[in-house]
Symmetry: C2
């Protein structure tokens, strides 16, 4: 496609999202680099355009417009020092909480910092005076990229008028040419190629208002609730289960949602990561809407399956966990409050929930049968661990393999368990120190770590002398998650990705005066665990579980293969 | 003193430095909070003041002034969004390399972020578009504080016209009242209380130009060269020694200067930390000027003694290592280049250098005599170590006690040794990992660490399997530097400051397959060292030296007490 047409389409997608978010006015100062934005603004009938020569004056004018209308107002300028003239008005908007959408055109990355004309470093130019800053990069020609731009527009508008209203800065680099050739104009109006407005928008959603009745009317048809990682208060689970019953919706419970363990109605679904690996099942269970609560789920299978499903995101922390760019409406509200008010108004498919419950139950049986005949591996260990941990205990799960294995194999249990994981940045770091902190914080917490995450935080070893529960190290000789990823098989794979450390854990741990046990099978693990759970302090110690990584991988692969049947 | 007078004096000190740095014009926009700056500007006869209502216009006007004159031009505005109007001109100045001094008045810290009127977060408002940002805090009434303000002015002017010219932003908070009472005006003109202009300035120095002849004419009388930590190229030492001979100046060599070990003339002084503990010696050896090269020295005794001595700072990296605020002139030039050109033009005190050499030699003897009868401690260990390390080897010294003990006891030696230390931030962190990197980088390097710095970087332990030299751990049971500091004796001192870890180093180290030796006296240390130096890889290993911290402290204290006689 002609690059100028692409720039235009890119800008149209952005304005589509901004208009959906309530923007109706655009104040622009003249310039060349901003041409795609002006062309798109002209083609957006819901937008009124006002040109003002001086950017400083334009910004204060936009501030007045936004104050008077209560709606976000867009500003467009060209690259270079132009946007710096907005700064005084941006400061006033930040301090007064006025929604401004700052759309600065920019040169593409390859020209920045290399002395190109009218090119300065525009990134984060307004520092802490804007609520969010985004630079989506130059225009790209893919449905996913255009979808992202629309989502970015919706998001910018929502944030600008959110709980802490104020300016939002989008820096938009454009490659030349900027003006479409005549044949491009002869093409069908780019607007007709935009995504069809989402059902949410058709029903008047996306304007940012949070009208409970309208939201309820929207939640008709086949829906799922997806609850991601989050430290929810105890009152959340009962409110959620009651809401799920009213909405006739299954609740897909992330291993870090805290919902897998404890009493729950049949709506609780925990086997989705395995279930959805079967394309027929995945298609059959596809919903019309998803109500997502908290952060994005751990399961990549689930996240991939959710793509393109209209999403309502509930996050009391006003986060935008939306890597698929499907969120049409983000509601920054206490989920207990929302759950208590949601009811299902529309028609309900009577087989919808039953299909989910049936799938979950059949998978429970299938998993049990499979593991009964499979050699001992992490799946059996998890079953023993979940059977043994006292009610109300904590389980701290490292990233990489342990959390994914918990996701696949945990299922549910009737007595409560608090599951912790450092999923904010999902790093390998600080695992043993965090474990010590959790125990010192009053929750007797068992850890499930890999050998690399254990060794990465060696300084934390010094803190493990005061635990109330064991630290379980799954030693499979390095970063075995890479065995499941495309890096597997690259030259020098073991040294550069798997990076086994080859340290005698026993000597290391005992030299710090910490109890140590090593096991290689189920019987040994159950004994060591029972022993550890009866101790405190250095007695809890470390249980090193020697895992045959290749065998384990074979067991996982065969199980997933059976899912495809 | 009246707070308004203090604000005025504070501003006068700043302008004194700025004028010394070549600033002659001040462009101001009206406001209340900036009143002390305007009053000071009025009292500074060398400054021409131009009021311009609009800050944006004022900034572009100043830009033009600076372009035309080649001198730094000052801008003054009040607090709030006022300074944001400067931004477009600041960007132009940054991109074009024009020296602007941005003097924004601000509310004091206690009013920021609490909703006070016309108060925004002004810190780092111009992001990466200014060369430096400083916020010296509200005015204070002490000679040291006023000296700092003068130094800040000199520095800001120098940086604005330095190797990478551009704007410098000083954010200046003022507490009310801002207008001095009438009796304050009746007081002697605050200008008369300013520091007398430095000799450097009297001779036309401080204008930022680097005229070799004028610099040489300045270096008359009694001077010292002080060479701080730095990774100097091999050609530096010969150039420096030749320069010292021409200038008739002793060279005070920091342990991390690389100058203590290797051939040198008698000008090399290494015992200053002990020498200058005697007030009479310190007074007798006081110089008229100091030529400082590189970072500030490790020795606090030396740094304190240098306070208020006019200083020329040579730093090829254009740093401002000037915690005493005595630098009158900073020259960002290769020190070899400078040393080769410097000659002494003025009168020379014939006894000056001889006094230093005599002191150093007497202290060499005194130290040897003292250690001959003292119980074995780190001082003896250092002597053995320096006698044993091969020519051209590296010695990596941890912060806290080891580098200070090296400073006190090393003396000099004729064969070269590269001394390394992480003094950039002088942290306790990353010592064993750095050591592994130094060895892998091709310099066979022995380390001298304390037990805490060793344990702080436990992950680095895994890297110690590939060393070419031993890692010596001085285990004195925790952070013993605090035993020398005022924290000593506070409640719960050992647990909260000294923080001994109580780990069996032997088990820990051997569990990683690393060689381990422990010693408690000179004979044992010499044997272990000889053994280690004959090995590579895991064989070099760790030598744990058990140190009796209380006895060691007693030996140090008694030695310093003798210095007072």
């Amino acid at each position: 496609m002609d690059l100028a047409c692409l720039n235009l389409r890119w800008s149209l997608a952005l304005f589509d999202g901004l208009v959906a978010g309530g923007m109706r006015r655009l104040v622009l100062s003249p310039g060349s680099r901003s041409t795609p934005l002006v062309l798109a603004g002209q083609r957006q009938p819901e937008l009124e355009l006002t040109p003002i020569l001086d950017e400083r004056s334009a910004a204060f004018f936009a501030l007045g417009l936004a104050r008077a209308s209560g709606r976000p107002v867009g500003l467009v300028c060209t690259s270079g020092s132009a946007l710096a003239h907005w700064f005084p008005a941006v400061i006033e908007a930040s301090e007064s909480g006025i929604p401004l959408i700052l759309l600065s055109a920019d040169r593409p990355p390859e020209l920045r910092g290399w002395g190109a004309n009218q090119t300065i470093d525009q990134t984060r130019l307004f520092g802490g005076f804007v609520r969010e800053f985004h630079d989506p990069g130059p225009a790209e020609d893919s449905p996913a990229a255009l979808k992202m731009m629309r989502a970015l527009g919706t998001r910018a508008a929502a944030v600008s008028r959110g709980h802490r209203p104020g300016p939002v800065h989008l820096n938009l680099p454009f490659r030349e040419p900027l003006v479409p050739a005549s044949d491009c104009v002869a093409e069908p109006d780019p607007r007709s190629e935009r995504f069809s407005p989402s059902p949410l928008r058709e029903r008047g959603w996306g304007e940012g208002e949070c009208d409970q009745t309208a939201l309820t009317s929207l939640l008709s048809g086949r829906g799922v609730i997806c609850c991601g990682p989050g430290d929810w208060p105890p009152a959340f689970a009962p409110a959620l289960w009651a809401c799920a019953e009213r909405l006739n919706a299954p609740v897909l419970c992330d291993p870090l949602s805290g919902l897998r363990f404890g009493s729950a109605p049949v709506h609780r679904i925990t086997r989705y990561d395995s279930l959805l690996r079967n394309p027929r099942t995945a298609a059959r269970l596809k919903p019309d809407w998803v109500l997502r609560i908290g952060r994005a789920p751990v399961s990549k299978t689930l996240l991939g399956w959710l793509a393109d499903i209209p999403t309502i995101l509930i996050d009391p922390g006003a986060g935008w966990s939306d890597p698929n760019h499907d969120v049409r409406l983000q509601i920054a509200v206490d989920p207990i409050h929302l759950c208590n008010r949601l009811t299902c108004a529309g028609l309900v498919d009577p087989d919808w929930l039953a299909g989910w419950i049936d799938s979950e139950q059949r998978l429970n049986q299938l998993t049990a049968d499979y593991l009964a005949q499979a050699p001992w591996c992490e799946a059996h260990l998890l079953a023993d661990l979940l059977a043994a941990l006292p009610e109300g205990d904590g389980l701290f799960c490292a990233n990489s393999m342990p959390i994914r294995q918990l996701d696949t194999w945990s299922g549910s249990r009737a007595s409560a368990l608090r599951v912790f994981g450092n999923r904010g940045a999902s790093g390998i770091d600080g695992q043993t120190s965090t474990l010590a902190g959790l125990n010192a914080g009053g929750v007797p917490t068992t850890a499930l770590l890999g050998d690399l995450s254990f060794l990465h935080d060696l300084s934390g070893l010094l803190l493990l002398r005061d635990l109330n529960r064991p630290c379980i190290v799954l030693n499979n000789g390095g970063g075995r998650i890479f065995d499941y990823l495309p890096q597997h098989g690259l030259p020098d794979f073991a040294r550069l990705w798997r990076t086994p450390v080859g340290i005698d854990l026993k000597g290391l741990i005992e030299s710090c005066g910490i109890g140590y046990r090593t096991v290689e099978d189920g019987e040994g693990f159950r004994q060591a665990l029972a022993h550890s759970l009866g101790e405190t302090g250095t007695g809890c110690g470390v249980i090193e579980v020697r895992v045959d990584a290749d065998l384990s991988r074979q067991i996982h692969r065969e199980f997933w293969r059976q899912m495809l049947d």
